[in-house]
């Protein structure tokens, strides 16, 4: 996908995308990332520009659009290829939209890899609950739409077990126009949780929605309305996911000064956020929870997990994003508080870890 080099506003860029004819094999994608930044900030050392630059991206500017390029390894061609993304940063929501027709592995090896391990950016994580909400929205707006594909996973650590051999880890890839019904059945029998959904919307196009916040227009015969719907899907989803982000962002770690006659102490004030579990947990779930965390690069240390009903609390190191925080878990919820200033994306990754590896129906809740 090659967009002519010129100055764009976001509106003029979208118009350009809408009117452009893409090669038949090209699939327009929008990969969404939440960031900490409301501008690119070329002059600052801690800025979105510096973040991409430090990770080896070449950056060109076309007005409101930044062109990001980086080499990745194409596994089919068995050679390195240059991936190009047209990036727009919404200064209000701090949502970064990457327009591209690159393969998924190009995104995974470049921006996704960076978002997993860098502070200040994380994918617009779209868990099973949000996928379900989007599904309802699609069906409501397009009653003749059909879900014809999904991929779903089950891990042995899941708090909600499927009925069949719950200790087996499994991935199910399903093709068929009864995919929604099949997903329901497979959730019940095999305990799987969806990661990718594909929809056919008659007379508009076929779409793929990934839990990593990547939206693809797979096929269309009427490109302009199809591309418009792609953007609408992004819009619907971002509104839903933004709520979790806002709650997480309210968590904080502040040192409150306590002044005595001759000295000054600083007492930590923890402002937490919570993850509400979808079922009451018991002691046997505690070890699964710890395992899920460890498998994603978290280390629980100096913690307490007494036998009995569910009680688990201690310190956590996030090895990938390099943060330390503290958790307290009971059978219904987990309270999480930073132990230093932590960028929201670190907690978004933590929430994604809990949802993808432990309780797919868990939700982010305000701490009360």
């Amino acid at each position: 996908m090659k967009i002519p080099f010129q100055e764009y506003t976001f509106a003029s860029f979208v118009n350009k995308i809408l009117e452009m004819d893409f090669p038949i094999q090209a699939r327009l994608k929008v990969a969404c990332f939440f960031t900490q930044f409301d501008r690119w900030g070329t002059n600052s050392t801690f800025s979105l520009w510096a973040l991409f630059n430090s990770r080896g991206f070449h950056i060109d500017q076309m007005g409101d659009i930044h062109v990001l390029s980086k080499l990745y390894f194409d596994t089919a061609l068995r050679q390195k290829k240059m991936a190009t993304f047209y990036a727009y940063l919404n200064s209000e929501s701090r949502l970064l939209l990457l327009f591209t027709d690159e393969k998924s592995e190009a995104i995974d090896q470049t921006v996704e890899e960076m978002a997993e391990t860098t502070s200040g950016i994380y994918c617009m994580f779209t868990g099973p609950r949000t996928l379900q909400d989007i599904r309802s929205k699609i069906v409501e707006s397009y009653p003749s739409s059909v879900c014809f594909y999904f991929t779903a996973k089950h891990f042995s650590q899941f708090a909600r077990k499927g009925e069949t051999r719950p200790h087996i880890e499994r991935t199910i890839v399903y093709y068929g126009d009864d995919a929604l019904k099949a997903l329901e059945e497979m959730q019940q029998y095999y305990g799987v949780s969806p990661r990718i959904m594909r929809y056919r919307i008659p007379d508009v196009g076929n779409y793929e929605i990934k839990s990593t916040g990547c939206f693809t227009l797979l096929k269309t015969e009427d490109p302009i309305p199809a591309k418009q719907l792609l953007l609408r899907l992004v819009d619907w989803t971002s509104v839903l996911v933004l709520r979790s982000r806002q709650i997480i962002e309210r968590s904080d770690f502040i040192l409150i000064p306590l002044k005595t006659e001759e000295k000054m102490f600083e007492i930590p004030k923890l402002i937490p956020w919570t993850v509400k579990f979808s079922k009451a947990l018991d002691y046997s779930d505690a070890e699964s929870l710890v395992e899920s965390m460890v498998s994603e690069g978290y280390t629980l240390f100096n913690y307490v997990m007494p036998k009995g009903s569910f009680r688990l609390n201690g310190m956590v190191l996030d090895e990938k994003k390099g943060n330390v925080f503290t958790i307290d878990v009971d059978s219904n919820r987990m309270i999480i508080a930073p132990k230093d200033k932590i960028s929201f994306d670190a907690f978004l990754r933590f929430f994604a870890t809990i949802v993808e590896n432990f309780d797919p129906q868990a939700t982010v809740e305000e701490f009360v």
Binding site: E261, K263, I267, V324, T326, K339
Partner: protein, 365 residues
């Protein structure tokens, strides 16, 4: 003259060596269990300390309603006394409550008797405590012990029996509630005896039972007197992360450990830089002795200029956490088991030393 284990072992026949080795392995296993329990107890202690402290941390309802705020961790530690975990201070009337937290109690009498000595120490050294706090402290200092709810009646009875001025805070850790335990009929006597607080507001809040909002979140990550294993795990995990980011193959210096301790503890303790340096040195001495840290610059004398590395596998931070904990316990267990194994071997083999009557005499003294 005492022989070292290895020297002693050399004096034995192959058959006897086998017997001694079996004894050593058995003693090491026993010591290991004791040490693991000690580390577990330390984490349980940290849990109840945080449970208690979180009621009085900034913005929490009790702190707002009563004016008592968490001010000091182990307030007596700078005076080389390891009693009392928390100092709660009410600035408006300079009133201080010293709180001791216990996650489990084996002997009520001993506990209350120990507390009695700590109270005398705190009262006698009030002027030094005032220097730690940097503020005048109103008379008298109040004392509280926070114990699991199940133990509260026995502790209270012992306090009444021995007439000690201590309030009992009963913590229901499973139900996540805390309540002051005492005689509600005769509040006047209870206040005069120091078993209820002088602050009516605090009594009424604690009297009805309070539920924490922050539960067991670790507002306090470590204490100055935390178990060495807890300190080593905490420090090693953080150092691993720091050195991993800076890509210098896991190398660190004395200042890294010192900075971690100061960051965690400086703002809430009256400890001086020298105190922190002593703690850091202590951590290094232990870690080097037990092969937890590796000295990469043996030719350099000065501790502050040396370069270290965490020993063992460093695949990820979880491996570091496990290895540090296990190495500490294994090393300590073997060390403690060595001499006891000789004694047990001699006893089991009926060996009596010519000079054994001397140690018997000493033991009787």
């Amino acid at each position: 003259m005492n022989l070292s284990f290895d020297d002693f072992r050399k004096t034995l026949s192959d058959e006897e060596k086998e017997v001694l080795d079996k004894i050593l392995s058995d003693e090491s296993r026993k010591k290991r269990i004791v040490l693991e329990n000690n580390v577990l107890d330390d984490n349980n202690h940290l849990e109840i300390v945080n449970f208690c402290a979180n009621f009085f941390s900034p913005g929490q309802p009790i702190a707002e309603r009563t004016g008592y705020s968490l001010a000091l961790l182990e307030p007596m530690y700078p005076l080389n006394v390891k009693n009392f975990d928390l100092g709660l201070f009410r600035k408006e009337n300079s009133s201080l409550i010293l709180v001791e937290c216990k996650s489990s109690i084996s002997d009520y009498r001993e506990l209350v008797s120990d507390l009695g000595r700590s109270i005398s120490e705190a009262t006698n050294r009030k002027d030094e405590l005032e220097r730690v706090l940097g503020n005048r402290i109103a008379d008298p200092i109040e004392f509280a012990i926070c114990v699991p709810a199940l133990d509260a009646p026995e502790v209270y009875n012992e306090i009444v029996r021995t007439n000690k001025p201590i309030c009992v805070w009963a913590a229901s850790l499973w139900e996540r509630k805390m309540k002051i335990f005492g005689n509600k009929e005769d509040t006047k006597t209870e206040i005069e005896s120091g078993r209820l607080h002088r602050d009516g507001n605090l009594n009424s809040v604690l009297g009805t039972g309070v539920e924490p909002k922050l539960n067991f979140l670790r507002t306090i990550s470590i204490l100055p007197s935390s178990h060495m294993c807890t300190l080593l795990v905490h420090v090693s995990v953080l150092i691993y992360q720091k050195t991993k980011e800076s890509r210098i193959s896991g190398e660190f210096q004395y200042s890294d450990v010192l900075n971690i301790l100061m960051k965690e503890l400086q703002t809430m303790t009256g400890l001086s830089t020298e105190d922190f340096e002593r703690s850091a040195t202590n951590i290094f001495n232990t870690a080097l002795k037990k092969d937890i840290f590796k000295d990469l610059t043996e030719d350099t004398e000065e501790l502050t200029r040396k370069i270290f590395q965490i020993s063992g596998r460093r695949t990820n931070s979880n491996v570091v956490r496990k290895e540090v904990g296990e190495t500490y316990v294994a090393h300590n267990a073997r060390e403690k088991a060595l001499m006891e194994s000789i004694a047990r071997y001699e006893k089991e083999r009926g060996i009596t030393h010519v000079t054994s009557w001397m140690s018997d005499q000493n033991n009787k003294k």
